[in-house]
Symmetry: C2
Subunit: 332 residues, 2 copies
């Protein structure tokens, strides 16, 4: 009996120590250098999780929203979803002989990215509709997974899902271990992200918000399916981000993370909330380990956001100085 | 020391017993008579939660969707949200002198419900736009809460939020205690439900899906707000329900609960999933304690659904016979 009690006692002790370790143990953000950015994050988390303190927030209201492109993974030399669309044009070309002589498809098939981009938003929309619509939601999910399993980034030759930021993965885990629900709020396609965000970021499909095309319920041989239509449903960018957050979550987050002017309204809305919120921009300053761009970039332009961050005292992460590593493996 | 060990031991014992009680303890559905409906529910839950068994479903995929009007609370003699809209017309009438001579507002102000309803969908849409739009999301939430705090149902004289079904509250709690995420998927307004579903059903705002009007991000004196526009965004009814589920959740639920033909496509879609799902209709058969209606009702018509439930072997709850009580208090 004594032996049994002893075992129980040890078991309880282990549990208590394990619990303690979660809160006071080792550094939860090991890839972050000791910097004002890191301090802003840990101070914020301490403040909203300290019961009885003035800035305490109950767990149900601890909502954190993250942009995806350029905030959780890279976005250069083009949004990864655009690389997917270009590859899909090539994969589908044999079924569309007319593409050989029709822009913007012709340019895609000739690897002439300059002409594709010169077509502007209209050309990109055409590419998205031709490659993202016409199938069922389940078929599209499979296509995305298959592509990610084989496609490689043109510069790093890594799979795209390996080009996520290690410091941000740590941040996501740190927030969740402190009772936060973490959401993605991206201008990218909601159904392009959902097939892989749980595995890569630990973010389940129901916590992914993005741009979307319309879908329609249909009976196919007695089997109900959702068919993806070539028609825009919602653009989750700029002023659309607070709208998308309200539509999906129905309450104001207390932390927002972005990297471009497309995230500005999201940060404005979150940081106008009544609690003491955290608003943070990732600033791409590392031309060696990643890319360096801001005010003049076509992709992920951060211009007004940089000014507003200064005015409002938001946190700006300097990738070069604040992050010990960029991607999850060691051979950088 | 011995005393301390003893205390630890007792504490552990209490924890273990408490854990056991959750799974093998008292009846989790005490307001349900022993019936095929109740058996279908408990067998389903046992099947999807038994690890190693063929129909086991991991907790992350245990998604259950519930219609609201007529499934979680009553919907007679009119949808409660319509009662809200009528009351709002009266509250706002002093600011709209023209309503005294304009239909459908004139009829509302004269308590002439017959004329209001004779105006059909167009009249109802006009009422909704006049009473649900033009304010910010936060103002609207406050208006809904204030209304619910004082409004009384014309027949029962109870607050509307007291007219929720006790057996369904138990079902929601039972599913959640078995690792389910419970969602509302309603034709009603998403922002009409969110202010109170957490308190009444234990369902947080981010798990409420409904019809919506468009909102727009706007800066008002430097403060960002979301303004509600008089324009339909999404109708979450009939074939819209699977679309809304896919948009918000991004994966197929394994259980669906409804009460009308408006829920038919939702049940079809859920029950066509690959796991062993549960599809259930609440059939309003209790004219004494609630209302009795189905194939010929204008509100909550259950016609095709009754036939399809029979063909497909879905569960149909007979309110009169299957439920010991209807509403949460004892004085019925």
């Amino acid at each position: 009996m004594k032996q049994f009690i002893h075992t129980i006692f040890i078991a309880c002790l282990v549990l208590v120590l394990a619990a303690c370790d979660q809160t006071t143990g080792s550094d939860p953000l090991p890839s972050w250098n000791e910097s004002p950015s890191k301090l802003a994050i840990t101070r914020f988390v301490d403040a909203v999780t300290s019961e009885g303190e003035p800035h305490y927030v109950p767990p149900a209201e601890r909502i954190a929203v993250f942009d995806n492109d350029g905030t959780l993974w890279s976005e250069q030399p083009m949004y990864f979803q655009l690389a997917f669309a270009l590859d899909r044009v090539k994969a589908l070309a044999s079924k569309h002989p007319e593409w050989k002589s029709t822009q913007p498809f012709k340019a895609v098939l000739e690897d002439d990215l300059k002409t594709v981009l010169a077509g502007g938003e209209h050309a990109l929309l055409e590419l998205v509709m031709a490659t993202h619509a016409g199938n069922t939601t389940e078929e599209f999910s499979r296509i995305v997974k298959d592509w990610l399993a084989t496609a490689k980034h043109p510069k790093t030759r890594r799979p795209y899902t390996d080009m996520v930021y290690q410091p941000m993965l740590e941040l996501l885990a740190y927030l969740r271990s402190n009772g936060f629900k973490t959401y993605i709020v991206s201008g990218g396609g909601i159904e392009f992200m959902r097939p892989w965000t749980e595995k890569v970021y630990g973010i389940p499909p129901e916590q992914v918000i993005g741009s979307s095309i319309k879908t329609e319920f249909e009976m196919r041989n007695g089997v109900p399916v959702l068919v993806r239509l070539p028609e825009i449903n919602f653009i989750d960018d700029k002023a659309g981000k607070p709208v998308g957050i309200n539509q999906h979550i129905g309450r104001r987050p207390i932390a927002a993370f972005g990297n471009s002017d497309g995230d500005l309204q999201m940060l404005q809305w979150v940081c106008a909330g009544s609690v003491k919120p955290l608003c943070l921009f990732v600033h791409h300053t590392d031309a060696n380990r990643e890319w360096a761009y801001d005010r003049n970039s076509d992709i992920g332009r951060l211009d007004k956001g940089l000014d507003e961050a200064k005015t409002r005292g938001w946190t700006v992460v300097d990738m070069k100085d604040d992050w010990k590593s960029i991607y999850p493996t060691t051979n950088q």
